[in-house]
């Protein structure tokens, strides 16, 4: 298919894409993590641009972060210090884990130029006071951002932004569903590229581009062969390695869904209709599957994974973790136990910044797929 090319291009060189938007006069606000209220940034007339790790060549960030800090945080700081994010007008840091929390401080103290906003969200999501605080914090963010960008963020603009993002999230979910119905119609790495690039690309464009991809897949679906490989779920935090989709596919499996913040956690749940758009945005964060750095209950993440497996009729789970990601590492033993109890095989892959050698990975995935 033709479309994935443009998404791949953005992923290959996000900085060029960002600069191009900037040259068109857009104001660009970089952000971390899927708890950033993109709708509010968009309603402020700015372009939300998700920041990922720059790569594995860490030079500048070593002067600020120890080696036992995860590659996402180190790589993101590297990008900023190396000047790869010079097109940003500002950066937004929602509170998630201990490392992002400190990254925000170090960024604020060392990355000169763009404005800096912290969005210190509640850590628990399951009490009334936390829900009220969530709304308070988002209101504060709306106010902070409006003053930084010197614009008005009206309710009307917020509602339009909510519509845009609901459309995009809906489209991404539809793509995942099409893939889950028949994994043969789109490669895992193509879908990965589309979803991830969607966190950086022009959103108005995406509201048209994504439906076009969907349409093409719908057509393809009619003549597609029935998929006979093994259905697999990926679970973890951020995925930076499209190669694993291909290696899993070559080993006889297919990724039919995930529990990633660069995947389903990004698009699950839409913002509901509400007279107060900020309360509506807050409501989505409460409802949506949680990141392990947040608390929605002591079993919710395990239950959510089982629900995904059941709904998607999957046979096994590959836990894909970034080394030094504490929240995920803490949840792993209990989530694995949940799977063991249901007789669902799983394997864990921990990656620092580079994947293990392809030969080694291939052997591991082949052995795993054979078990399913």
């Amino acid at each position: 298919m033709k479309q994935p090319d443009e998404f791949y291009e953005v992923l290959k060189d996000p900085a060029s894409y960002g600069r191009k938007l900037k040259e068109q006069g857009r104001r660009i606000v970089g952000y971390f993590c899927s708890y950033t209220p993109e709708e509010i940034i968009y309603a402020a007339g700015a372009h939300p641009f998700r920041i990922f790790a720059a790569g594995d060549n860490i030079h500048f960030a070593d002067a600020h972060l120890q080696s036992y800090c995860c590659s996402l945080v180190r790589g993101a700081l590297e990008g900023a210090l190396a000047g790869n994010l010079d097109f940003l007008d500002g950066a937004v840091f929602p509170h998630t884990c201990d490392s992002i929390q400190r990254l925000s401080d170090i960024w604020r103290m060392n990355v000169k130029g763009p404005f800096h906003v912290d969005v210190v969200l509640p850590v628990k999501l399951d009490t009334d006071s936390a829900k009220a605080y969530m709304i308070d914090v988002l209101k504060k963010f709306r106010h902070d951002l409006a003053s930084r960008l010197d614009v008005q963020i009206t309710d009307d603009k917020l509602k339009k932004a909510i519509d845009t993002f609901n459309t995009i999230r809906g489209s991404l979910k539809k793509l995942y569903q099409l893939k889950a119905e028949n994994p043969g119609i789109i490669r895992g790495s193509d879908l990965y590229a589309i979803v991830k690039a969607s966190m950086m690309m022009d959103r108005a464009y995406l509201t048209k581009a994504l439906p076009a991809v969907i349409e093409e897949l719908e057509k393809k679906k009619e003549n597609a062969k029935i998929y006979t490989g093994k259905r697999i779920i990926l679970a973890g935090g951020v995925c930076n390695h499209p190669d694993i989709y291909r290696i899993i596919e070559e080993a006889g499996g297919a990724v039919v869904w995930d529990d990633f913040c660069t995947g389903s956690r990004y698009f699950e749940e839409s913002v509901k209709d509400n007279a107060d758009p900020i309360a509506a945005i807050a409501g989505r964060y409460i409802e949506r599957p949680a990141c392990p750095a947040k608390h929605a209950g002591i079993f919710t993440r395990g239950e959510n994974l089982l629900k995904i497996i059941k709904e998607k009729n999957a046979r096994g789970v590959v836990f894909f973790f970034l080394k030094f990601c504490d929240p995920h590492a803490f949840d792993y033993p209990y989530m694995k136990e949940f799977l063991d109890r249901e007789g669902i095989p799983s394997m864990v892959l921990e990656v620092e910044d580079q994947l293990p050698s392809e030969g080694q990975l291939r052997t591991r995935f082949e052995t795993f797929v054979d078990m399913l």
């Binding site: 201990d98 604020r108 210190v120 605080y133 750095a293 608390h295 030094f324 929240p327 803490f330």
Partner: protein, 421 residues
């Protein structure tokens, strides 16, 4: 204590507590022994046990006569008794990554085998987790809530990157009410607010005394070292809000003042004064203290033990409960790196130190990430050198004695040269 039946522990605790009551000079070891005996025989005495994080609001527990137990203090004991590596390995066989916090790893493993220096902590009736120190405690307490199947209260103190806001105050203050309701439900009775006020007063008094004890080390020679502070710290962490803490620190303060008056230093020949940053390397405190003393260097202060008295400025003596919200939210680890650096600079000045030893602690990201920036700020603002030691607070596998030894020697050379020695 490890294998004694609870009923024996119960009576022993009663006898020892009585003996302690009449004793003029109370020893830390005896106080802690009675404390753990009482905690471990709580089922017989009918008292409830709560596990709580080291930075958590303990005063409401004390006021409800609940025994607070600190897995982190337990982690430090495990580390100091060099039992950490075994327990960490055990947790790794349970599926926990070796990169996780070693307090958490050793505690999680210990709960399943009742190992460690005191045969495991008493089973909790409830868990109170305050995330003002890290996000790790949230995950750790979730693990224990699943394991023990007991209620978990999360006291969520939003991080203060650049200050404290109205929204945060509202949220945290509301949670104090929720906390009291949680305790009332768990204990089956009402909170006595007068009693809580009295506990609050004692807590503040204890914190001020602890501050005064630590401040005596501003004298040259310092009457105590940070290694002494690591030892005496246990009470302000575990029994804050009880009269015992007041007695103990009052006596300790007198002793330190007396040493100052007589010019007695904690090490025989104090020539260089250093500041410690981060949690101690528990299994190696003795080695480190001897190593530094061999260079006539004294660790006169540290950012760690002072964290338990660093927010008294936010506490309103006459309204402890309301002001607790801000005091617990703005503790040392819950503030921005630049504000931490300012605190370090204040300590550099107050204790007149010649250099800083920073423990880059693999177990503790909120404490360690940002140290490089603090180091640069201190070097720039005060022109004193900083030594960075990469290690771990409990897990000895991350400690290389020969490497650390060489680096300390080189660091001390720089300090000696700078002082013209």
């Amino acid at each position: 204590m490890n294998k004694m039946p609870e009923i024996v522990l119960f009576f022993l605790a009663k006898i020892k507590k009585l003996a302690l009551h009449f004793k003029k000079r109370k020893k830390m070891k005896e106080i802690m022994m009675v404390y753990y005996m009482e905690a471990k025989s709580a089922r017989i005495s009918g008292r409830k046990v709560a596990w709580i994080t080291s930075g958590g609001p303990v005063e409401p527990l004390i006021a409800m006569d609940v025994i607070p137990v600190y897995p982190e203090n337990h982690g430090a004991m495990i580390g100091a008794s060099k039992m950490g590596t075994d327990l960490c390995e055990k947790s790794e066989s349970m599926g926990y990554s070796s990169d996780l916090c070693s307090y958490a790893r050793s505690d999680i493993a210990c709960a399943t085998v009742n190992g460690g220096p005191i045969g495991g902590l008493p089973r909790p009736d409830m868990l109170v987790c305050c995330n003002n120190i890290c996000g790790t405690v949230l995950k750790w307490y979730e693990v224990q809530a699943r394991y023990f199947n007991v209620p978990l209260f999360i006291f969520d103190t939003p991080f203060c990157h650049t200050g404290y806001s109205e929204e945060v105050q509202r949220y945290v203050r509301r949670q104090l009410d929720e906390y009291v309701l949680f305790l009332e439900k768990a204990c089956g009775r009402k909170m006595d607010s007068d009693h809580l006020k009295a506990v609050g007063k004692l807590s503040l008094e204890g914190q001020r005394l602890w501050q005064a004890v630590l401040a005596t080390a501003a004298n040259s020679p310092a009457p105590m070292t940070a290694f002494d502070a690591f030892y005496h710290l246990a009470l302000i962490v575990t029994l804050r809000g009880t009269p015992l803490v007041i007695d103990y620190y009052t006596q300790l303060l007198e002793k330190m003042k007396d040493r100052v008056a007589r010019g007695i230093g904690a090490i025989p020949n104090e020539k260089y004064r250093l500041l410690w940053d981060n949690i101690p390397i528990w299994p190696r405190t003795r080695w480190l203290s001897e190593k530094l003393a061999s260079h006539n260097a004294c660790l006169v202060a540290d950012t760690y033990t002072s964290a338990w008295c660093g927010t008294t400025k936010y506490i309103d003596e006459n309204n402890f409960f309301d002001s607790m919200a801000e005091a617990y939210t703005r503790i040392y680890l819950n503030i921005g790196v630049d504000e931490m650096a300012r605190t370090v600079l204040e300590m550099v000045d107050m204790y007149k130190v010649d250099g800083i030893v920073m423990h880059s602690n693999r177990s503790c990201k909120p404490y360690s990430l940002g140290q490089y920036d603090i180091q640069k700020i201190v070097e720039k603002e005060r022109g004193i050198p900083c030594l960075m030691i990469e290690a771990d607070m409990v897990d000895e596998r991350s400690f290389s004695e020969s490497q650390v030894s060489t680096r300390i020697d080189a660091f001390m050379e720089i300090i000696k040269q700078r002082k013209g020695d």
